[in-house]
């Protein structure tokens, strides 16, 4: 059984059960009418039941080969590293928006992405980033009048 599959099924079963529990706390009925918790209760129950039944099937190692959608996730360790790198850069980028503003952070992000992920030269990465980020920022701010995050440099 794939580890990720198992984890997701366990997580969705638990989530369903937690929702059922919380929904009961919200109240299933309200003056003889449906309460706030009734709909989440039913959805949580459905989620827990379906996830649970799929999980049980897998635990018994039945239908593993029959499940046409269960793709192998063993391939492409290198690709997954790239995905992780991009996501990590995105987290750093969003956190930096508060301090450096949209223009500076985006410029830095794009240079790093082009250099480290796109494997382009430093000159190409810097040049292309300037050519892309400045027009996008200008259109957003001056044409579409969107207020973008402003950092310590004021832009």
């Amino acid at each position: 059984m794939k580890r990720l599959d198992a984890l997701l099924l366990v997580a969705s079963t638990l989530l369903g059960l937690v929702v059922v529990y919380s929904a009961v706390g919200m109240g299933l009925t309200y003056h003889n009418k449906p309460g706030s918790g009734l709909f989440p209760f039913l959805i949580g129950l459905l989620m827990a039941m379906v996830s649970g039944s799929v999980l049980v099937t897998h635990i018994f190692r039945v239908g593993l080969s029959a499940d046409a959608t269960a793709r192998s996730d063993c391939s492409g360790q290198k690709n997954r590293t790239r995905v992780t790198l991009v996501y990590a850069l995105l987290i750093v980028y969003t956190l930096s928006l508060r301090y450096f503003g949209f223009a500076t952070s985006s410029l830095l992000l794009m240079i790093v992405l082009l250099r480290c992920v796109g494997l382009k030269s430093w000159m190409y990465s810097i040049g292309m980033s300037v050519c892309v980020v400045i027009p996008i920022t200008a259109v957003a701010v001056y044409v579409l009048k969107i207020q973008l995050p402003v950092g310590m440099f004021g832009y």
Binding site: L4, D5, L7, L8, L9, V19, M26, Y30, K33, P34, G35, G37, L38, F39, P40, I43, L46, M47, V50, S51, S53, V54, V56, T57, F60, V62, G63, A66, D67, A68, T69, A70, D73, N79, R82, V83, V86, Y87, L90, T94, L97, R98, F102, S106, L109, M110, L113, L114, V117, G118, L119, M128, V132, I136, A140, L144, I146, Q147, L148, P149
Partner: protein
């Protein structure tokens, strides 16, 4: 208003210079998006959704419909020239389209694809107008119980027809429904799953989730094939007009493709993939020389391409008449309508005829624009195809951030978008389809409202759901499919256990 008056009314709306410009821009952007592999129509529409807040509802819808139809056509260019489907509906076009291109017949392949899309789109638009009136009249008699049953059946059908397993689609859809529950309960004012975070009291903004799950998720998924080499057809593309022989071979597949696309496009979850697969299989089966399929048969391009465009157009019927989106991209259109304060459904024709007929007529105009635009501009599309994804994805990311931040000027929204991007990626890796999740989230307020309204009217008596034949039949279908989905895996376990025991004895 009879049908001729309605057509004329729609034509007047769409030919207003602003709307015509929106239609043109939408079709152009859609084709561009369809041509670029890795940027689907859903992602493009999600990116442009925040911009449509500043437009009139008719203009916004015309532009988004143009993007959708344009992307369906643009995807075929990539399939034929590079053998990479620009979007899922163009997968079948790769088989014979690329073979034709390798034989130096890229021009006729692109040409027949444009004609097929035009004819299919136009026939289906006509069908839309014929069906919409009676369907919306029928839907008006629906009460909350019938509406609830219809929504449940629609969601279930979507899960059933999804490419991934039914159980996983169902789990995904329940996740979307749960997400829709987050926020203040409109009936009692009680907060649900907000964890004391004030920004969650209004619920999670749909656009943030859409940008995360369409934009960021697609980027993360595409990172895995970042350096897959594109094999272009290098010969010069000439002779876009198909020969008489090509037209003779294609006319029946085009007509059949229109009908197949119209039928499957109307089913929730039917979508472009099933219709193109069915069309291809049917053409191969009906052909006197099926051995030509896979080696550059023009029927293998004409049928699926027509079905693809017909299916995307037919998806508007359930949306505009019943308020049910048939796939995630149509769900985005529904989200746009809801954001603009318009309730899609049976009352749309009566309350907002300008939107209904404006959008319907814009499909005709859009098809003409597609035909005029695509054939002469094919050289430009080929050049655009050469833009590397390494340059494209940072731009998409920046647009996602701008789109999200512009909603409320809150950085927290950008964090939430990133979180949903990761969730979408993990779901994809675990074979949990993202589309039922998004559709369920969009439909949740309507499903819950009709469910609770029915119970409130009947003072909590659940027999209200079986008080009418329509609701009973629909809910019986829902219940039996749900029961089957739980019983089937358990039966499989018992079966194997019994077999093991038999073998042991």
């Amino acid at each position: 208003m009879d049908i001729v008056d309605a057509y004329w009314y729609g034509f007047q709306i769409v030919t207003v210079p602003n709307n015509l410009a929106f239609c043109f821009v939408g079709t152009l952007v859609g084709t561009l998006v369809g041509v670029l592999p890795g940027l689907g129509p859903g992602a493009a529409m999600a990116l442009l959704l925040p911009l449509t807040y500043h437009l009139s509802p008719v203009g916004a819808l015309i532009m988004l419909a143009g993007i959708y139809n344009g992307a369906m056509y643009g995807g075929s260019t990539t399939s034929i020239l590079v053998n990479i489907p620009g979007e899922a509906g163009s997968i079948m076009t790769c088989i014979d389209g690329h073979q034709m291109a390798k034989q130096g017949r890229a021009g006729p392949a692109l040409g027949i694809s444009a004609f097929g899309s035009f004819i299919g789109g136009s026939i289906t638009t006509f069908i839309v107008t014929l069906i919409a009136f009676p369907l919306s009249r029928l839907a008006i008699i629906f009460g909350p119980a019938e509406y609830f049953a219809l929504m449940c059946a629609g969601l279930l059908l979507l899960c059933f027809l999804a490419q991934e397993s039914f159980a996983r689609s169902l789990i995904s859809a329940s996740g979307g429904l749960l997400l829709g529950v987050v926020g203040m309960d409109v009936f009692t004012g009680q907060s649900r799953f907000t964890f004391g975070i004030p920004s969650l009291y209004d619920g999670i903004d749909l656009v943030i989730v859409l940008l995360g799950m369409f934009g960021v998720t697609e980027i993360l998924a595409n990172m895995e094939q970042l350096f897959v080499e594109k094999r272009f057809v290098t010969q010069e593309i000439r002779g876009l007009l198909p020969t008489w022989e090509d037209l003779r071979r294609s006319i029946n597949p085009i007509l059949r493709g229109s009908l197949i696309g119209s039928f499957f496009g109307m089913l929730p979850g039917g979508g472009t993939v099933i219709s193109t697969f069915t069309s291809y299989a049917m053409e191969k089966r009906l052909s006197r020389s099926p051995e030509r399929f896979g080696h550059g048969a023009i029927e293998g391009v004409a049928g699926p391409e027509t079905a693809n465009n017909s299916s995307s157009t037919a998806g508007f019927i359930p949306l505009l008449t019943l308020g049910i989106p048939t796939n995630a991209t149509v769900a985005l259109l529904m989200a746009a309508l809801l954001i603009l304060g318009i309730q899609p459904g049976p009352l749309l024709i009566r309350n907002n005829p300008e939107i209904f007929w404006g959008v319907v007529m814009s499909m005709y105009i859009g098809n003409v624009i597609l035909l005029i635009l695509n054939l002469p501009l094919i050289g430009i599309w080929v050049q655009i195809l050469r833009i590397p994804y390494t340059l494209l994805f940072p731009v998409i990311l920046l647009l996602c951030v701008i789109g999200t931040y512009s909603l409320n000027n809150r950085l927290a929204d950008v964090y939430i978008m990133l979180l949903f991007g990761l969730l979408g990626y993990i779901m994809q890796k675990g074979s949990f389809p993202v589309h039922p999740f998004l559709m369920a989230m969009i439909l949740e307020p309507i499903v819950e409202f009709s469910f609770r309204q029915s119970l409130a009217i009947s003072n909590g008596d659940i027999r209200v759901f079986v008080s009418s034949t329509i609701a009973t039949v629909l809910l019986l279908f829902v219940a039996s499919v749900l029961l089957l989905s739980v019983i089937k895996p358990v039966m499989r376990v018992l079966n194997v256990a019994l077999q093991k025991e038999n073998r042991a004895t």
